[in-house]
Symmetry: C2
Subunit: 420 residues, 2 copies
C-alpha cells in the first residue's frame, strides 16, 4: 500500500489536506499517517489537466521549420526524419515532452507517434498516464498497410505488459495518409477490442476538397461510411465541418480536440466550431498538438488562446468562457477516457495539481478559472500528483536536467544521421 | 559613478560579459572592476522588451469582468471605479504591474492612467523607464476639459522633478471620450513642447461608424484634421483602418501599437493590418494593454499571439515571423522613443535582459527568436538590467512580496469603498 498526505492546501476554498492511498483519494481534510507527507505551502488543489492530442516526441523538431504551410512542413521537415527516427530518439524526445507537460500541470496525454514502446517506457518512468497510439500511415501501399495492421495487433497484446496507467489506441494518421481498407480495419479492430480510435480530421480546407473530389463526401461522412465514428472515436482539429458533419460528431459523442495554436500557426484557414460542436453533443477538448507546430506543450497557454480565438471568430466576447476552457482541459477529456479525475473528490483518482497563487499575475484574485486561463502561465503549477505519487515537488522534477541534455543529444544525432 | 559587471553570459553567440558604467554599456567582453559583479550563469543576453501601450494600475481590476463587450466593460466595470480611485491604489496597482513586467523582461512601458505622480513614483522606485501620460477624458464637458488642460500643463512642469528615465506624454483617451477642441489643444501643446501624443484609435467598428456619422470621416482622418498626427503620435489598436488611414499613419511614421490579446478578448471585430501598416511606413509595435483586458502583462505571450493572429487572419503561415514579433517589442518601439536599447552594443543604454535557455521548452534550440515567440513563457527571463542596475536577479525582485500584498489590499479597499 502506497500512501501520500498532501497537507496545507486549499480544497474547495478551505485550508485542508488530501490523503491518497493506492492511487485514489481516500480522505479530504483528514490527516492520516502516510509513507510521504508533503507540505503544499498554501497552494490551491485543482484537478489535473489532460492533453488530449499530442505527438510528444516531436519536441525534437521544436522550432525547426516555423512559418511553413502544413503540407510543406510535414513533407520537408517532419516525414523524412520520422522515417528514420530511432527508438532512443523517440524515447528522449517523449521524456522531454513529459517534463514540459508535468510542468504545465498535465498528468495524462493522448499521443500518436511512431514507437509505442519508446513512449510507453517514458510514461511509466515519469509516472504519468497516457493513451498511446502507434501512428498508422500506409500511403495507400497494401504491403505497408498489412505490416501496420500486424504491428497494431502485436502492440495491443504487448501493451498489457504496462501498468493500467497506459492504454493502447489505434491511430490512423489521417484520411490522406491512410487507405480506406485500413480505416475499415481500424474501425473493426477497435470495436472488437473496445479501443479508442484516434485520428486527425478535417484540419485543412485542402483535406476536405480532396475528399469531396475523391470520395464525393466530406471527411466526416467518409469515416462514418467506413464505420469509424463512435463514442470511442477522437478527432483532432475538426476545423472545416459542415452542419451535417457536426451533427454526426455530436450524435456519436465524438471527442473533438481543439488545437488552436497549431491551427493558427499553420494557418489552416478556419476555426474549430466550438459552440456548434458542444450544442450538437460532441465532447469538446483542448490540446497542444505536438511541439513541432506549437512550439510548446503548455496547456494553460492553449486554454487562453482557445478562449481568445473563439471570441475573435464569433465576434462575441462571451464565447468560450474561462470556465468552459478549463472544462475542455479537465472534466471533458477525463469523461471521455473514463478517468475519475475531472473533479477532486473522495474515491476519485489521486491525480491533482497544486496552484501557487502567490505569483504577481495571480493577484488580486476574483475567480480562479479566469486567472488560470487569462492571467497565469505554467509557472503557477507548483506541484503535480498522479496515481498518488508526486511527479513534481515545488517545480522540481527528478531527473529533469538529464532528460533535457539527452533530448538535445537525441535531436542533434537525428539531424546529423539523416542530413549527413 | 555606478558600475556593474555582468559576467558569464552569452553575447552574440559567445561566452562574454557586459560592463556598465553610469547607465551605459561601456565594454562588451572586457571584465573590469565594478561596484557589483553579477554571475549570469550562462544565460543569453538579449535586448529588453518595451511595452508600448498599457494602463499599469489596472492590475487592480484583473479578472473582474471577463467576457464582456468593450463599452459595457468600460461603463460598468472600469469607469465607475476609476472616478474614485485613490493615489495609493494607483500607486500599488502600478507597482504590481511593474513587478509583472520586469518578470517578463520589460524595462520600459508607455502608460496611460489617472495619476501621473502615483505611477511615476513607482517607476522610479522600481528602476524602470516609462513614458507616462495622465489620461485625458472630458466627455465633451468644457469645464472638465479646461481642468484637464491645466493639469497637463502643470504635470509637464512637475515631470521634470523625476530622473530622465521618465518622460511625460499627453494622453487623450479616445475620440469618443475627448472633445475635438481638446484634441486640437493636445496637438498644439505636444508640438510646442516636443511631446508624445498617446491615444486609442480605431479600436472598434462602432468607433469608426460613430465618427463617420458625426464627423463625416474616419477616426484617423478626423485626428489628422485636428493636427494630431505626426511622428510623435502613438496610436493603440488601429484595427479598423481604411487604405487611406494606413497611408496617413505610414507617411507620418506613426507608431501603431498592436494589442492582440485585448482585441481578441474584447472581440473588437477585426485584426491589426500588420503587413499593410509596415509597408506604408508606420512603426509597428506589440503591447499588452492593461491587465483588465488581457489579463496579464506578459510580452512573450503577446508576441506569440500577435504572430498567430496574423497567420490566422492572412491565412498564411509566413505572416509576422518570430523575428518580426521580437522587433515589434524591442527595436521598433526603442526607435520611436529614442531609446538606444534595441540592440546590445558598446555605448548603448545599459538595458538588457538575461534569458535562461535551460528550461525544458527552450530545448533543443535552433533559433532564439523562434523560442522566445513560440516556445517560451516569461519564466525564461532570468535577470533584468535597466539603466545599469539589476531590477531582477535570477527571478528575484526586491520587495515583490510586499508589493503583491499591498496591491491586493488596494484592490480590496477600492471595491469596498466604492461598492459599499
Amino acid at each position: 500500500m502506497n500512501s501520500l498526505l498532501v497537507k496545507n492546501i486549499i480544497v474547495d476554498g478551505k485550508l485542508s489536506s488530501i490523503y491518497c492511498e493506492d492511487g485514489h483519494i481516500a480522505e479530504i481534510g483528514v490527516e492520516k499517517d502516510a509513507d510521504e507527507v508533503f507540505d503544499g505551502q498554501g497552494c490551491i488543489a485543482h484537478p489535473p489537466f489532460l492533453n488530449s492530442h499530442t505527438h510528444a516526441s516531436m519536441t525534437l523538431f521544436r522550432g525547426n521549420g516555423d512559418d511553413l504551410p502544413l503540407m510543406e512542413w510535414l513533407q520537408t521537415r517532419v516525414w523524412p526524419y520520422e522515417k528514420q527516427i530511432s527508438f532512443d530518439e523517440i524515447y528522449w524526445g517523449g521524456k522531454l515532452a513529459m517534463v514540459e507537460m508535468i510542468r504545465s500541470g498535465i498528468t495524462f496525454f493522448a499521443d500518436m507517434y511512431w514507437n509505442f514502446h519508446a513512449v510507453a517506457k517514458g510514461v511509466e518512468e515519469m509516472g504519468m498516464r497516457a493513451c498511446l497510439s502507434a501512428v498508422f500511415i500506409d500511403f495507400d501501399n497494401a504491403e505497408v498497410a498489412r505490416q501496420q495492421k500486424e504491428a497494431n495487433e502485436r502492440l495491443l497484446h504487448e501493451s498489457k505488459e504496462y501498468s493500467n496507467c497506459i492504454s493502447f489506441a489505434v491511430g490512423p494518421h489521417a484520411i490522406y495518409t491512410v487507405n480506406q481498407d485500413s480505416f475499415r480495419w481500424a474501425a473493426e479492430f477497435t470495436r472488437e477490442h473496445d479501443l479508442i480510435l484516434h485520428t486527425h480530421l478535417s484540419e485543412t480546407g485542402h483535406e476536405v476538397k480532396e475528399c469531396l473530389e475523391k470520395h464525393g463526401c466530406t471527411p466526416v461522412e467518409y469515416l462514418e461510411s467506413l464505420g469509424c465514428i463512435s463514442n470511442r472515436f477522437m478527432a483532432a482539429h475538426t476545423v472545416h465541418l459542415t452542419e451535417k458533419d457536426i451533427r454526426i460528431l455530436g450524435e456519436n459523442r465524438v471527442m473533438c480536440m481543439h488545437n488552436p495554436v497549431s491551427n493558427m500557426k499553420l494557418a489552416v484557414g478556419g476555426v474549430y466550431p466550438y459552440r456548434k460542436l458542444k450544442a450538437a453533443g460532441a465532447i469538446p477538448s483542448i490540446a497542444t498538438d505536438g511541439a513541432g507546430s506549437n512550439n510548446n506543450l503548455d496547456i494553460l497557454e492553449e486554454m487562453k488562446i482557445a478562449a481568445l480565438l473563439q471570441k475573435h471568430h464569433d465576434n462575441d466576447p462571451t464565447s468560450l468562457s474561462a470556465k468552459e476552457a478549463v472544462e475542455m482541459a479537465t472534466i471533458h477529456p477525463a469523461g471521455f477516457f473514463n478517468l475519475d479525475c475531472g473533479t477532486i473528490h473522495k474515491g476519485g483518482l489521486a491525480d491533482f495539481i497544486l496552484i501557487n497563487s502567490g505569483h504577481a499575475e495571480m493577484n488580486p484574485m476574483f475567480d480562479l478559472n479566469s486567472h488560470l486561463v487569462y492571467a497565469a502561465n505554467s509557472q503557477v503549477v507548483d506541484s503535480v500528483v498522479c496515481d498518488g505519487k508526486l511527479l513534481m515537488r515545488h517545480r522540481t522534477i527528478e531527473g529533469e536536467e538529464e532528460i533535457i541534455a539527452k533530448a538535445n543529444e537525441a535531436s542533434a544525432s537525428m539531424y546529423k544521421r539523416i542530413d549527413g
